[in-house]
Amino acid sequence: MSFKGLPEGVGDRTQSFRDAGYFWEILRGLGITMKHLVRNLRHTDEMPTMQYPEEKRVYSERFRGRHRLTQREDGSVRCVACQMCSTVCPADCIEIEAAEHPDPSIEKYPESFTIDLLRCVYCGLCEEACPCDAIRMDTGIYEIAADSREKFVVDKDFLLNNDTDGTL
């Protein structure tokens, strides 16, 4: 079969029976599979597959995990509710309600601070925008599971005491 106006050989679908059956390619592919199977059986310690969840991968310290709110020395929330994070957030997942702090040198604090972990895209812009180092994503927690959507909306208390594992 050939096509008018095209250079010689282009669009030519004529193949021999051997080529059309891809026999050689199938055998080569199976060979690679077998090679890895034999190697993995002989050197089980070098296998890239991990026995998750018993075994866990070690991530860099800069890995962006679930957020936490940092605390002042007295344990109060460091956040001043400036809403830079919720302004910069591309997923619009942070909701903050500000209130008057009794101490005039602090003045403003978040009465409520919620993050919708399902909407969050873990981009880390909130960390970068924060002028008070109040929000961090350094918990290293990446397993986030719950049995309802509501539970993924985490509040200030949860974010302040973020020492639980992935289950919400």
Partner: protein, 528 residues
Amino acid sequence: MVKLTIDSQQIEVPDGTRLFDACAQVRGEALPHFCYHPDLSIAGVCRLCQVEIEGMPKLTIARNTIVRDEMVVFTRNDRVKRAVQQVLELHLINHPVDCPICDQAGECGLQDQYMEYGLYESAVGVADKVNKRKVEVIGPQVILDQERCVLCTRCVRFCNEVTKTGELGIFYRGDRAEIGTPPGVELANNYSLNTVDICPVGALTSRDFRFQKRVWMLHGTASVCPGCATGCNVRIDHEGDRIYRLKPRFNPEVNGRWMCDRGRLEYKAVHDEKRLSEPLIRRSGGLEAITWQQMWRELTGLLKPGGVSLALTNPHQSLEELVLFRRLALQLAGESQVFGSIAGTEIGEADDLLLAADRTPNRRALSWLELPEIESADLVARSADAHRQRILIYGGDPAADDTVAAALRNCAQLVYFGTHRNATAELATLVVPLSMWAEKDGLFVNGQGRIQRFARAVARPRHAREDWRLLADLLAHLTGEQKLVSLTEVRRFAAAELALAGSLDLSTLPATGLVPDATEQAPAGGER
């Protein structure tokens, strides 16, 4: 005329022009400034509008300089730029740089100027700054932060020159100078929130708006204040379905750049928890929610031509709504049974600035439509007449008055078109939920006879309807005429009904509003 050169550009301006204005003309934007405000006297204290004039050894502030012939001025050269930088550095020396918790952030003069002329590296560390008092409550509406103040004296001049109450002053000298009120004096005049507007930094902030929202999240909608007959032009700042504040909008014919504190809090009623969100019907003593289909059946069953013994509206409704209501009410009741308002209600005391005695936005429209007032005694007499009374009340809360409430309790059927579950709604047989001023488009006629447009900013409560749609539906149902299907059509209908000049298009009004007939004009809020 004077000819001068600014930034190597020739310009001709009238004699006596301030150099500041001439520079603004050439630059397309004003010189950096804090203390200058178009409606206040010239102070010349912030030293930011410095320019270089050829032949003068030192830089001069442009606001205080009057143009001369053959003047050669530079506003953008390195010397000027460096001077402005240094002045700004001085302004910021003890500034706490607490923008994250400052409500002014986003509309702050200091932030804006600093983006253009900033040094970005402060010579004084945050720990070495002089601390002053923060969170100082100086009045019912205003909060003062001494650290953020740049001593531009705009607020002091406002209280001296505009309200003439003089609550604010500068105390102490040099680097200890601060804005304050004398002992025992509060910034409690009805225009105190204007000082918040004109404060170029975050020194004076509103207590009502405090920490409610960051300003860059707000959307502005041009509207008119419904608080009194002056009809100050406002901007409704809202986000989502919530209004956060009202700000004055410049209109030289009505309110200039100011508005009163009372008007600024008018938005609170929109988010009142008593707002009606569903049609209600009285069954076995209590009010029960029903669907609109059911309500429509009830309404058309009750409101029959000639079947209403008294129809009453009020001057809070828009011009279009009043026109439609008048048509509708004349179908339902006789001409002597349709009233615009109850005499003597919602009248307060006027001040000599903006606040008018008439605390309703649209009373002038009632007189244009010749909807008469009714004395409350007359209303009581009419309602007490018979037990077969059918009364239609559109808006307002006449039953807030006890004697009227007692009279209305006797009438057989009371249909109430309203916005709040108030005393009148509690007496009504049918309660129809409608929208408030911020939730619909419309026109108000202020005390001057000026037609001004207000626009929808936020959504209505769940099942509330736009007033004109309900009125137009009812009107079409009663008369069998073609239904008015758009606000443009309603406005055309209103113009015809009011016998306004044929060329007058109520849908496209000038920005400053429109006074249709010069003879109608009267002062709205006294002299300004």
